[in-house]
């Protein structure tokens, strides 16, 4: 009986959790993207991203997207590339996303992305997909770590 106790107690002690807490700083996506760092190489289009409402896990956020060409002119995705824009929130480590975002066209090449909701803290990707029917033409993403 003593051996069983000892074995059980040893197993408990060996298995104690070793928390590895780290302060997850919120990355500033505006800083990363201010010079049009998202390049859709297949479509030769640049994407400027600006947070209208900053990202958080407590409320909806929104983005303003501007697709521009080398001359800085707005690129009309539908007429020029027959491309449809999708914006997907994805948590790569957990293997899931969030509820669908809402895309509203403001002008040629300009969109407001609303209903962005990060359902939990952690590592997230915002994926900007340009597709035609079921074919993915191009994709870029920004990465965030949310507290």
């Amino acid at each position: 009986m003593k051996i069983i106790f000892l074995a059980f107690f040893s197993l408990l002690m060996l298995n104690c959790a070793r928390p590895n807490f780290k302060d997850m700083a919120l990355l500033d996506p505006n800083k990363k993207l201010e010079n049009c760092s998202l390049q859709f190489s297949n479509l030769k289009t640049c994407l400027q991203v600006q947070w209208e409402t900053p990202p958080t896990t407590k409320a909806y956020s929104s983005l303003i997207l501007n697709f521009i060409d080398a001359q800085g002119e707005g690129v009309d995705l539908e007429t020029l590339h027959e491309a449809q824009l999708k914006v997907i929130l994805w948590m790569p480590s957990m293997g899931h996303g969030s509820s669908p975002t809402k895309i509203e066209k403001l002008a040629s090449g300009s969109y407001r992305i609303s209903r962005i909701y990060f359902i939990m803290p952690g590592d997230w990707e915002i994926r900007f997909q340009l597709s035609k029917d079921t074919q993915l033409l191009d994709q870029e993403k920004i990465e965030l770590i949310l507290k």
Binding site: M1, I4, F8, L11, L12, N15, C16, A17, R18, P19, N20, F21, K22, D23, M24, T57, K58, K86, W90, P92, S93, M94, G95, H96, G97, S98, S99, P100, Y117, I119, M120, P121, G122, D123, R127, Q129, S131, T134, L136, Q139, K147
Partner: protein
């Protein structure tokens, strides 16, 4: 003998449903490990997410309040000598700050067989029940959820499992060990206008428990280690998540009101033991009431 009986009635309530990331959890089993003809139990539990753990094993405190209330109904009955069948159905309410969603979680059907009996009261040989489980995806996978993930109340996959429970009583002490593995099956879902194929893998659970019995009381402790393979998601792109693992520690106190009735109060913590990965860690309190029909 009463102590032994108390253990057999109450010990498995320790191995309570452990909430994992995003509404999913390990399947629960309703296995008869004593001389009952049938048993029925209801468990009310409340858990709150405390910590998020990423794929690198880095922990961060959860700053939004997210709670899960679960009402679990379980029944099992012997239908032929050493064969048994059981059913477990959870109703889950998930709340994040002020929003909530309620509905069925994943249900579990099972068939068991007592392959090691204790008819001769052997001094060291345990009693053992083997079982097969089928998880019915009455809950929703998080990739199917529409209410900002709140309506994710299960893994959402058909799943087949096999497991075994060993029990042994020594004087006022009791010991138990449970092992099971399962294979979940792929499914196709529609997310917006995109068709997604979700391919889960295998998973498993190992639990060890011990308890001390006196009069009509029992004090118990159990540890459960849970592992799930990465999930592969294929749509316009293909993604493979990280494997998920966590350890649930549970302390419980049980009281047998009458010979047929028992109650268990349990506290579970997922942040005390193990080396968790890609999961959320919660603290839970649960109350279980059970009724037993004797052979």
């Amino acid at each position: 003998m009463k102590k032994a009986f108390l253990f057999l009635i109450l010990c498995y309530s320790e191995m309570i449903l452990a909430a994992a990331c995003c509404g999913g959890g390990s399947s629960n089993t309703a296995v008869i490990t004593n001389d009952d003809k049938a048993q029925f139990s209801t468990t009310l539990s409340q858990s709150q997410v405390q910590i998020d753990v990423d794929s690198q094993g880095v922990w961060s405190h959860r700053q939004t309040k997210e709670t899960t209330k679960t009402l679990q109904l379980e029944g099992a009955m012997i239908f032929k000598d050493r064969f048994q069948a059981g059913l477990s159905v959870p109703v889950i309410e998930r709340t994040r700050e002020t929003q909530s969603s309620r509905g069925l979680g994943d249900s579990t059907l099972q068939m068991g067989y007592e392959y090691l009996t204790n008819w001769d009261y052997h001094p060291w040989k345990p009693r053992a029940v083997g079982y097969l489980t089928v998880v019915v995806p009455t809950g929703r996978n998080i990739n199917e959820a529409t209410q900002e993930g709140l309506d994710a109340r299960g893994k959402g996959f058909w799943s087949l499992g096999v497991g075994t429970i060993f029990t042994k009583i020594h004087r006022a002490w009791d010991f138990s060990a449970q092992f099971d593995i399962h294979k979940s099956f792929e499914k196709k879902i529609q997310r917006g206008d995109e068709s997604l194929q979700l391919t889960p893998g295998q998973g498993g659970q190992a639990s060890l428990g011990a308890g001390y019995n006196f009069a009509r009381w029992r004090w118990g402790f159990a540890l459960s280690w849970i592992y799930e393979d990465p999930l592969i998601t294929e749509g316009l792109t293909k993604d493979t998540s990280s494997a998920e693992r966590y350890t649930t520690a549970t302390a419980s106190v049980a009281y047998m009101f009458k010979d047929e009735w028992g109650g268990v109060l349990s506290y579970s913590d997922q942040a005390l033991f193990g080396d968790p990965l890609s999961t959320t860690l919660s603290k839970s309190v649960s109350l279980r009431m059970s009724y037993h029909w004797f052979r």
